[in-house]
């Protein structure tokens, strides 16, 4: 029985570890400035934890087999209530490993979340509602117009869905889109809102995830570094259509972005 257990535990360990090492499934290719740092720290954590995983499982399997009861005549088990030196050693080592990992990652977290967006960042307001994302740009005046919950009408398209108040002069040039256009290599200052329930704005390729919470306007920033289309998903359970609440983030050159925004402004007039 000890041998069977050893084989099973070792096999489980090797097969599990193989797919991690072969990277058969892995993080999607990163396309933002922060991705490299996050991925690097992910890899560090994963190598260290992987070593602990393999070492612990292999010893478990080995001990189970090596110390099996062979027969009643073999010597008794070793009588020992433990060893304080060993206890202290592995406590300190684990503490160093875990807290060390934590401090290594704290600077990345700080640059992602403690620092506000730079002053010339491109502002995009992202609003989640069951089960759609809307993206609003402030237009040439650089100011978002007022919105009123009483005016919200999801059936009336983007601007009506957000409840944009036509009486507010700063709302005149606001552009609302169903696809998120952003220029490459510019910091994007995302302002996250939700109208009904909690949603979460997740762009895997950008290593960007943040809940959109009703009643809060949450600022969060990222910098796309590769042009292309990237999928946006809702990552917080928001109701029956959660699985189909998705969108596209289109990263284009600054030139194309300016052209797109001008065209949308022209459409509005």
């Amino acid at each position: 029985m000890g041998l069977v257990l050893l084989v099973v535990i070792w096999l489980i360990t090797f097969i599990s570890a193989y797919f991690f090492i072969a990277k058969t499934w892995w993080l999607p290719v990163g396309a933002s400035a922060a991705a490299a740092g996050i991925d690097h720290h992910f890899a560090t954590t994963y190598v260290l934890m992987g070593i602990v995983f393999v070492a612990a499982q292999l010893s478990l399997g080995l001990f189970a087999w090596q110390y099996r009861e062979r027969s009643a005549t073999t010597p008794q088990a070793h009588y020992s209530h433990g060893n304080n030196t060993l206890e202290i050693t592995w406590t300190v080592l684990t503490l160093i490993l875990f807290v060390g990992l934590n401090f290594m990652s704290s600077s990345i977290w700080a640059s992602e979340r403690f620092r506000p967006a730079v002053s010339d960042a491109v502002q995009v307001e992202v609003t989640g509602m069951q089960f759609q994302w809307y993206f609003r740009y402030p237009g040439p005046d650089g100011k978002f117009g007022a919105t009123k919950p009483q005016l919200q009408d999801p059936s009336g398209g983007g601007e009506a869905a957000l409840g944009l108040d036509p009486a507010d002069p700063t709302s005149k040039d606001d552009v609302v889109a169903g696809t998120m256009y952003v220029p490459v290599n510019r910091e994007i200052d995302v302002i996250l809102r939700a109208e009904d329930v909690i949603h979460s704005f997740f762009v895997p390729a950008m290593r960007f995830k943040q809940d959109a919470v009703p009643g809060l306007a949450i600022h969060m920033h990222f910098t796309p570094i590769t042009t292309g289309d990237y999928e946006i998903a809702c990552s917080q359970l928001c109701g029956l259509g959660h699985y189909k609440m998705h969108g596209i983030l289109r990263v284009i050159s600054q030139e194309d972005f300016d052209k797109w925004l001008t065209a949308r402004e022209a459409e509005k007039q």
Partner: protein, 581 residues
């Protein structure tokens, strides 16, 4: 202290009941109540498992028409996952190890004739059972059961218009959880008082089996955590039915104002996780205590570092209340607090690692007997390592950016909180069945059950980590909408087949359980040659546990292979005291 204890026993003693109802239904006997909790949990686990089976089928064959149930709609999938999670966490993982085995064996292991408050004990069981019926009733009301997930985040869970099942079904869900909290609070008081006041002479705290320590610490966690959830549940009920706005700000559903304003959705998350994280330890601590016990018994070796094990459990319990924010790194909570929560969470990994090293230290140079409880204890250690190793990923807010709310999290908590705890429950069942029912369970069936379950659960939950790394979000009822999910469907299919086999394996256990009650080999009083007090009394134990006397304890609980002793184990009640070491 000793005289006080005997006085306490006299007060708590109650005569054996004579009527059938008082003996088997409204019983005051902790052993009967323990068995009642066990069968409640057994019912719940098969319901919860059936729901997960439907979920796995729906993910792979979304349009399949099932017999009786028809096609599972996307919103039904969310209902299934909500009820699966709630039933498993509350009515299985909290109920079986603590309410079931704790009730039955805590008094016997510390040498008491019953729990401190037998009437309260009966009440806590029946309130818990009522909670379960209310939860199940949610399936059968208009609109069905809720779809807001076991975490029930408002505003989704607070607004009847936010989705199907958020009407009466959601009310029943909240009421059930509130009732469960009441039952758990009464039970926690009972466990704490019993452990502190009812120990037999010589049963010092540091001579208690680690199972008793685990139940004791779990009860303290329950006392502090369930009160908070109970309050949060009441506030949520008020938001839903009395027009208050504790958790709901000014929101519109499909353009319609809801009449709420000024509430904070994050307040619920703080209250919920202040309960929710200690709840993880409420589920796993009894399994830790039990597996420590089993590893020592079946390695014929004292537990490695008894005191370290006790202190590790105490620090896990203590730190467990300071880490709730790690569920909220992406919630909009201040990013500065994330740093503090992250450090505390990493710190809680240390006592967990100490325990793992001590388990390995216990079997090292042991004399292992591969009985069915021992197999499950070894399986528990393997699962605890695998589930634990993904913890330091999720404890770091930076890595939560790609991993939060993905299958990586689902894999992590299923391995460590779900399956590892369940292995503890299985181990406990195989180990204590002879004492509870007077017969042995079939070892042959148990081995099949063990290997199918071990390999099967790894096959289901290990791939979830791969899915999560690839960005596969949890709680997605269809995999058709996001393009990047398409490539992951084969892995999901594999997991569904693995689930079929694993679930089939559980029927071996069910069969073995009932078959052995009737046809199992008659059990001796101490079939495992273990040292703790439950093995000194008759099988099954008499109404007052020890047949008219109270045992006196001379030794620690893990005196195996003591040099010079006549046998390879020294009972706790053996007056030939083991020399201090």
């Amino acid at each position: 202290m000793a005289t006080g204890e005997f006085a306490a026993h006299a007060v708590h003693a109650h005569a054996a009941p004579t009527s059938w109802i008082r003996k088997y239904v409204f019983s005051l006997d902790h052993k009967v109540i323990g068995i009642q909790y066990f069968f409640l949990a057994l019912t719940a686990v098969f319901v919860g498992m059936f729901l997960s089976l439907l979920m796995r089928i729906h993910l792979i064959w979304p349009a399949a028409a099932l017999p009786l149930l028809g096609e599972i709609k996307p919103e039904t999938y969310l209902t299934l996952l909500t009820m699966h999670g709630t039933i498993m966490v509350f009515f299985v993982l909290t109920t079986a190890p603590q309410g079931g085995f704790g009730n039955y064996f805590l008094p016997i292991q510390i040498g008491a004739p019953d729990m401190a408050f037998p009437v309260l004990n009966m009440l806590s069981f029946w309130v818990t059972a009522l909670a379960f019926f209310v939860m199940i009733a949610a399936f059968f009301v208009v609109g069905g059961a809720p779809l807001h997930g076991w975490t029930g985040y408002p505003p989704l869970s607070a607004l009847p218009s936010a989705g199907p099942g958020e009407g009466l079904g959601a009310d029943l869900w909240v009421i059930s959880i509130a009732l469960f909290c009441l039952g758990a609070l009464m039970s926690a008081l009972n466990f704490i008082t019993t452990t502190l006041d009812m120990r037999a002479r010589g049963m010092t705290l540091m001579r208690m089996p680690l199972t008793c320590w685990a139940w004791f610490i779990t009860a303290i966690l329950g006392l502090l955590a369930f009160g908070v959830l109970l309050s949060a549940g009441i506030l949520l009920l008020l938001d839903r039915n009395a027009g208050t706005s504790f958790f709901v700000p000014l929101v519109t559903i499909n353009g319609q104002l809801t009449g709420h304003k000024g509430g904070s959705p994050l307040l619920w998350q703080h209250l919920f996780w202040f309960f929710g994280h200690p709840e993880v330890y409420i589920a796993i601590l009894p399994a830790m205590g039990l597996c420590s016990q089993l590893l020592s018994v079946f390695s014929r070796k004292p537990i490695f570092g008894y005191k370290a094990m006790v202190y590790a459990m105490l620090s896990i319990g203590f730190l467990g209340f300071m880490v709730w924010g790690h569920h909220m790194f992406m919630s909009g909570m201040s990013p500065y607090t994330a740093f503090a929560f992250s450090v505390m969470t990493m710190a809680i990994g240390v006592p967990s690692a100490i325990k793992t090293f001590n388990w390995l230290g216990t079997i090292w140079r042991g004399h292992i007997r591969f009985t069915s409880p021992m197999l499950f204890a070894l399986g528990f250690v393997s699962l605890f390592i695998s589930g634990g190793i993904s913890g330091p990923f999720l404890a770091q807010p930076v890595l939560d950016i790609p991993l939060h709310d993905t299958y990586f999290v689902v894999g992590h908590f299923h391995l460590i909180m779900g399956v590892a705890s369940i292995f503890g429950i299985f181990g406990a069942t195989y180990y204590w069945f002879p004492k509870m029912f007077g017969r042995m369970m079939s070892e042959g069936m148990a081995r099949w059950h063990f290997f199918i379950t071990l390999i099967g659960t790894y096959a289901i939950f290990m791939p979830m980590h791969y899915l999560g790394m690839a960005g596969h979000l949890r709680r997605y009822s269809q995999l058709t909408e996001l393009n990047y999910l398409h490539g992951l469907v084969p892995l999901q299919t594999f997991m569904t087949y693995a689930a079929f086999i694993t679930i089939a394996g559980q029927f071996i256990f069910l069969f073995n359980l009932f078959w052995s009650m009737k046809f199992g080999k008659k059990a001796a009083d101490n079939p495992w040659e273990a040292t703790t007090l439950e093995w000194t009394t008759a099988t099954p134990p008499p109404h007052d546990n020890f047949g008219g006397h109270i045992p006196v304890v001379y030794n620690g609980p893990y005196e195996y292979s003591v040099p010079g002793a006549p046998r390879d184990f020294v009972m706790q009640t053996d007056p030939a005291t083991v020399k201090a070491h």
